[in-house]
Symmetry: C2
Subunit: 299 residues, 2 copies
């Protein structure tokens, strides 16, 4: 990541210092290892995806005006928007160059499709959420494109880097997609407090008029009167704490949490079934553990 521009060195150093769980590279390495073994190409795939993911986060913080990320100040908070957008573009192009100069064309193709789908997914969400009253199919389309695509790419790149054929790469992509969908449903459940068991509901999605699976289920199974009332509350621009609590209580009572939790588990189970078609290995066990972590994690 060395650059001839000192400011850029300083910022990438800061980014590396506050790195996250690096779950995406883990999926790349474990997928390669389960198929055959980790190669130089696997390392490049993991770096490419982590660079891309980091670039996305840097841009996200600009558009959301976020001042914090992983307990540190965001890049835009410390160096302003202009620099943050440029740093994001730089990280993305460094990742692409790494792949291009090493002729990693298969990985490049997988990852570029992911970038396109991710921006389409985000835009679809913005467009659809104006209506608030989503149907389930649209919800799944959005999370498939927005979140699941990148984890799908991790598994596909990992498999490709270990020399898997097209069919196996596609199978791993599909498994990764299921894991990603389960991951996002879990994230959306946090808004209601950890699947309704522990933790305090945050209500952030409701505040921002984002319809997620628990609310969609609740709305689609409510009386016409309740539905109208709740939609009016969710669409309100400035919501009181009481407004948000009313919606949360409505969702809790409707069984929306249990429904979403059950959906998440059945999709994760499909991923596990897919993984179990591969011969037993420690990498396979680790991937199974990662799937379990995805649906059981508490943050």
């Amino acid at each position: 990541m060395k650059s001839s521009v000192p400011l850029l060195d300083k910022i990438t150093h800061y980014i590396v210092k506050r790195k996250g769980k690096q779950i995406r590279p883990m999926f790349v390495f474990l997928s390669a290892s389960m198929i055959d073994s980790v190669t130089e190409s696997t390392h490049r795939g993991a770096a490419l995806i982590e660079l891309l993911h980091t670039a996305t986060l840097v841009h996200d913080d600009v558009v959301d005006d976020a001042f914090e990320r992983r307990g540190f100040f965001s890049i835009n908070a410390l160096w302003k928007n202009k620099i943050a957008v440029l740093v994001g573009d730089y990280l993305l192009s460094r990742g692409l160059l790494l792949a291009i100069s090493n002729k990693e064309f298969e990985q490049l193709s997988i990852v570029s499709k992911a970038v396109e789908q991710m921006s389409e997914g985000e835009l679809l969400q913005i467009e659809k959420s104006r209506g608030v009253n989503l149907d389930e199919k649209i919800y799944f389309d959005i999370i498939r494109q927005k979140t699941a695509t990148l984890i799908a790419s991790c598994c596909a790149c990992g498999a490709a880097s270990a020399g898997a054929n097209e069919e196996i790469v596609e199978k791993m992509r599909h498994i990764g997609e299921q894991i990603g969908i389960a991951f996002q449903i879990k994230d959306d459940l946090f808004d209601y407090g950890l699947g309704g068991k522990i933790g305090k509901p945050t209500g952030i999605d409701i505040k921002e008029k984002k319809s997620t699976l628990p609310l969609i289920y609740a709305l689609n199974n409510a009386s016409n009167g309740d539905k109208k009332k709740m939609l009016r509350l969710v669409k309100r621009d400035k919501k009181s704490k009481a407004d948000i609590d009313t919606v949360i209580q409505f969702v809790l009572k409707s069984g929306g949490i249990e429904y979403a939790d059950q959906k998440m588990r059945s999709i994760a189970d499909e991923a596990l079934t897919g993984l179990k078609t591969f011969p037993e290995s420690s990498a396979r066990e680790s991937l199974i553990e990662l799937v379990r972590y995805t649906i059981e994690r508490e943050k």
Copy 2:
């Protein structure tokens, strides 16, 4: 550019409606035609570069909070920052996918290096302009990376698409770089009113503390007293119209305009000399005309 997301279709339609001069695709087509002939690959190269250039402009308007572009409202003005950043990312990935799915790896490599250099160049400018008192070498480094890289890529991609060998591709890249440098010096001269001949000085660069060639020359050839005084004015956060006029008059008197104009012409001449080593053709004449337009244009 068709997308499954209606909002995205609407925005790309709007972008196409307000398209610019499309000078970059022209360089791609003419370079290919001069070397041999325009191929399918030339069209893809031109589309790739125009998509990338458009993505950059959409992002630029976000970071500069600009509300207008080419006489139309900017994307961020009409659809907000979040959507504009995503649309920029989408356009970039569409361009890359177009190249990847057609196995245009040479063009991909040329263009990705350009993206990296452009973001590095912008960041270098932000970093260095804090000091205001640039030296000429840094000025040329910045405009080479920030502006010239993309026109260099146009000429290189055009040549590559016509089947040129590595040496010719590199020669065309170099010619494009010289054209790009001349192009940017011309742009910087507009700040002082069209090379000091016609037009009203805008003084925008001075207001924003950007040191360009005329000012750098003037500062490096001034008495210590004048230099100190002018630097103090340029560094001022809130400048009056009188402050800016004082700096402009100082630059005009110093001969900085003539110096920059002369530099621009000598670099453009090098590009013309390079072009004239190719056999005569109508494409070669058009490229020569484009270089002349670059340095003689009045906006």
